[in-house]
Symmetry: C2
Subunit: 332 residues, 2 copies
DNA sequence: TATACTCGAGTTG
DNA sequence: CCAACTCGAGTAT
């Protein structure tokens, strides 16, 4: 009932690159390489926080005592951060909570530190900013995965000799391909091309009104111009459904410990999608691409492929699998 | 088909404390209070990391140059941490990756820092340890929620004049209640009592072989002694199913941004549970308790309550709701 | 180098 | 501040 094919293609497209669920499981070497790459990137992004800490150290040095820090201009945010308040938490606090937090920092940690109070302040600032950096790295991981997939799709189109247009993330403008499209994946939000069956447009991270959720990958059988029109709020949300060919979840995380956790989220997201479309009489194809795939979830993915719940799936670390799923996507 | 009641009780138990989905939504004030409490706890737990940084600073002070740090005994872990490697990532790396990481730290960040290289080392150490602290705080949040619920269940039993036994997390021994059970929730893994319908045992975070997953809350119609026997691997996993009365998901996080994310995970987990039990002809009751409940998920929870998919649900911040769901649980 | 749990640090529309 | 995304920092079994 779900995942019914509307393109007269065989349903077992995944067999082009998968023989069994085992092929989906991430290898030790890919996990290792993923963690190494992440650490390198994190180190580079750590530098500004080190600089901020030095600036705070310098500014706080003007204070004679912990309490005197309140008189130093321009370090309020540094004090709040050192008080253990994440930027996220600040959005939920009342002004008085922030005052209390800073007073608590001074009373409980800076005053006991004696003459080392500036060091204590800076060290605690860095602890909180370490969590900041970690959070921001989570997003980097996701973005890198999207770029990797984008690169593979563009290669597939190029190799197939197909022209494409791509949408710039910032300007939202659609740009024709050029001979040097190096690094366009850094600021690419969508790709458009023509398959044998018509216009195709792929958009990342689109909020599909019908499901009221963001979907990682949305493939429409529309040209970009038509898509913009159909996204207008003037059109009934259910009108978009017939133009949706395939929807996919992309999970770029490399951590094996997160594999099952994030697969569960992906399943719930895909279920919402299927239910929302089914309610209006449509069943777009669904697919899953993940970097960290554990044995159990590989079994579940395989089962869903076999019973048609999922149409396709791939491990993002396996070039063959990625190439195959990109060819499938580009020829839908 | 799912959630069929086998205790001759009305299915609308949730109506004891919920009039509509709105009642489930977390208030701004509860969110605010949650973030404040978390920050206070985090500050206390930050202290050991500050101390570690001071120790590293002291030890590293013996080195004349960045490269000389390699000769300082006992700071290998400090160097790895400063190189941006989390304890988690270290488990996935080869010895050579670690050497490379430390060399990269020295070459790319410590040598450019000149005479400030020890400061640079310590600052980067703290950034990584800030992520450590953050990760550990995630677990603290979950543990606090479990304790809060435990406290409510014990109160319910006490008020009802029922004796109970509780299982110690560490020793796994079952202990009879005493007049002063203050703080037993800190090390409580299970509770056992007698309802009007028989022996009842509730266990937290139990791996249910049938579903091959950990379930936050498992209620059995068995005495602890019987349960131990039935957990033995000698017994067919499907044999446990008839003794499972109710299974629940507890999500203690306060962050509204995580609400939908973690509800999706909870749904997938509950679905696995239902499918696994359904396969062997059983349909235990299921329930959900959460601290961060957003509007959309409240609607979905309500819908599942109405159609019987979920039997009960509560917002952990609402005392009435918690008390009601505890009475329900204790009287099953 | 298991497996699968805890949850909020960011991010974007 | 609303909503819903990114994912790995820990933890326990």
């Amino acid at each position: 009932m779900y995942g019914k094919n509307n393109n007269s293609k065989p349903m077992c497209v995944y067999r082009n690159h998968l023989q069994s669920s085992d092929n989906l499981v991430t290898t030790y070497e890919d996990t290792r390489a993923g963690f190494v790459a992440l650490a390198l990137e994190k180190n580079r992004r750590a530098t500004p926080y080190v600089a901020q800490a030095r600036a705070l150290q310098e500014a706080a040095g003007q204070a004679d005592s912990p309490a005197d820090l309140l008189n130093v201009k321009g370090i309020e945010m540094g004090l709040l951060t050192a008080a253990g308040l994440s930027d996220k938490s600040l959005a939920h606090l009342m002004p008085n909570d922030k005052i209390e937090a800073i007073n608590g920092l001074i009373r409980n940690f800076l005053e006991p530190a004696g003459t080392n109070f500036v060091e204590e302040l800076v060290f605690r600032f860095l602890l909180t900013r370490g969590d900041t950096l970690g959070g921001s790295m989570r997003n980097v991981g996701g973005a890198l995965a999207q770029r990797k997939l984008t690169r593979a799709i563009l290669s597939t189109l190029t190799i197939a000799g197909k022209r494409y247009y791509w949408q710039h993330s910032k300007t939202k403008k659609w740009i024709s391909m050029t001979n040097d499209d190096t690094e366009i994946e850094l600021s690419l939000r969508g790709i458009s091309w023509e398959s044998e069956l018509g216009n195709r447009t792929l958009i990342y991270n689109l909020t599909v009104p019908l499901v009221r959720s963001n979907v990682d990958l949305c493939l429409f059988n529309l040209a970009p111009t038509e898509l913009v029109a159909s996204q207008s709020s003037a059109i009934d949300p259910s009108m978009v459904a017939p133009y949706v060919i395939a929807l996919g979840e992309l999970k770029g995380g490399i951590d094996p410990a997160g594999a099952d956790e994030h697969w569960k989220t992906a399943q719930a997201a895909l279920n919402r999608i299927r239910e929302a479309f089914f309610r209006v009489g449509h069943s777009p194809l669904t697919f899953f691409v993940g970097s960290a795939v554990a044995t159990r979830m590989a079994g579940e993915i395989w089962h869903q492929l076999e019973n048609g719940t999922l149409t396709n799936a791939a491990n993002l670390n396996e070039e063959n699998q990625v190439a195959s799923i990109c060819r499938w996507l580009c020829n839908l």
